[in-house]
Symmetry: C2
Subunit: 140 residues, 2 copies
């Protein structure tokens, strides 16, 4: 389907928004069948290493606000994918840990979900992908 003519002001931020949207749509489509959403998927991936993260750290990692993360974790807890644990060093902090079910689901999905980056790198090539990452990181 053709795109309609559009104004070309702010091409760059527009291109960024559009590319992000396309990537999210494709990842979402693949995750939908597994009944999981992008943010939950990113969270499970972050926890895969077994490293202990607090809510605040996770909020940065999955690019959500703390209140939004609280709600996401609530849902994932009731789905049995993660659980909360008060940090022993500082009782204000909450560590989020995967459950056995969470790890199992993560592995199942990972096996079927192709790595997002792999698909982009196939389109752009290795060196352009690296270039793209460094350009993106240069934007403050």
């Amino acid at each position: 389907m053709d795109q309609p003519d559009r104004p070309m002001t702010n091409q760059l931020s527009y291109a960024l928004a559009a590319a992000h949207r396309r990537i999210n749509a494709s990842l979402n489509a693949r995750l939908r069948g597994h009944g999981i959403q992008i943010e939950a998927w990113r969270l499970l991936e972050a926890l895969e290493s077994g490293q202990r993260f607090t809510m605040g750290e996770l909020a940065e990692i999955v690019l959500m606000n703390p209140p939004a993360l609280t709600k996401l974790v609530d849902r994932m807890v009731s789905d049995g994918l993660v659980h909360r644990q008060v940090a022993q060093s500082d009782h204000r902090k909450i560590n989020v840990l995967t459950t056995a079910l969470g790890r199992k689901r993560m592995m199942q999905i990972r096996r079927e979900i192709e790595d997002q980056d792999a698909s982009i790198q196939r389109q752009l090539g290795e060196s352009d992908s690296q270039k793209l990452i460094s350009l993106l990181q240069g934007i403050t």
Copy 2:
């Protein structure tokens, strides 16, 4: 503040999401004072040329789903910035048109809002900005 260690899988789509988030935050901050949101701003810009767009075309332009656009247009109608007009050729289609107020507000804001791209180009340089655009457009 230091970022916590994070898993380096899907670096690329992560960098994309993060850059998009940073840019949106900055543009949003500048638009907030004008009581308008990014999507409304993009919509007003799209309509600036006077070209007639349907809801579906606008949804692509402002990168929203049709349902979300319906609500955005509802709000902008009640703010007096745009109005709807059933297309004479096809009564299913709705054209969205700016009002005099909408055009006036657009001009006012544009005068005060610095171009988003200008700020990015200052960071990246002209040629890297062009490179970034073409890389982003290469992502399907």
